[in-house]
């Protein structure tokens, strides 16, 4: 691990072809209410955006 937690060697992104693992993850929202990710795309397509960091 390098400065500020950077990777020593270049990594590659590896988005999955299916969101089965993602779907099983539960996360709290801004109010602390937990949501299973799969619930977001159960009825319609969902766009998930991962932010780099707060700030």
């Amino acid at each position: 691990m390098g400065i500020a937690g950077t990777a020593d060697e270049r990594q590659h992104t590896h988005a999955p072809s299916r969101a089965d693992v993602l779907g099983g993850i539960e996360l709290p929202d801004q109010d602390g209410i937990r949501h299973r990710l799969a619930d977001y795309w159960q009825a319609a397509p969902a766009v998930l955006v991962w932010l780099r960091h707060y700030g």
């Binding site: 270049r10 992104t13 299916r18 996360l27 801004q30 159960q42 397509p45 969902a46 991962w50």
Partner: protein, 130 residues
């Protein structure tokens, strides 16, 4: 913020839009207030979903290299959002993904460096193909 501005366009396409960020629910609430957005923000302090989405950790060059910094500066000017205090893993990169109701990933763009972010217009174009 750019995504928030395009929220109606995403709704028109019938898709839900969810932001996921590092840190705690309290930080997520603060983030929404500070930027004046009402999109749901999920708090992933342990970055489990980042890993499952195939997001990567940047090298120093991908974080602070001259090309990356220059591009990031232009993006910051366009978005008119100043950089605040960093909360979360500073080298963790993000991305975007469109997921169909059957669980298949229709489209994704995971960042290769800090300046490589999917534009809302690109996400919307991909959404229209789903």
């Amino acid at each position: 913020v750019q995504l928030h501005r395009e929220r109606e366009a995403f709704e028109k396409e019938g898709a839900g839009l969810v932001l996921i960020a590092q840190a705690t629910p309290r930080h997520a609430a603060h983030f929404r207030r500070r930027l004046g957005i009402d999109l749901p923000v999920l708090a992933d302090e342990k970055r489990a979903s980042y890993e499952a989405a195939g997001a990567k950790i940047a090298t120093l060059n991908e974080l602070l290299g001259p090309k990356v910094v220059a591009k990031g500066f232009v993006t910051a000017l366009r978005s008119r959002q100043p950089q605040g205090r960093t909360i979360g893993h500073p080298a963790q990169l993000g991305g975007a993904m469109i997921i169909r109701p059957d669980g298949s990933v229709a489209w994704s763009h995971m960042s290769e460096d800090v300046s490589d972010n999917a534009r809302p217009a690109d996400i919307l174009a991909a959404l229209r193909e789903v």
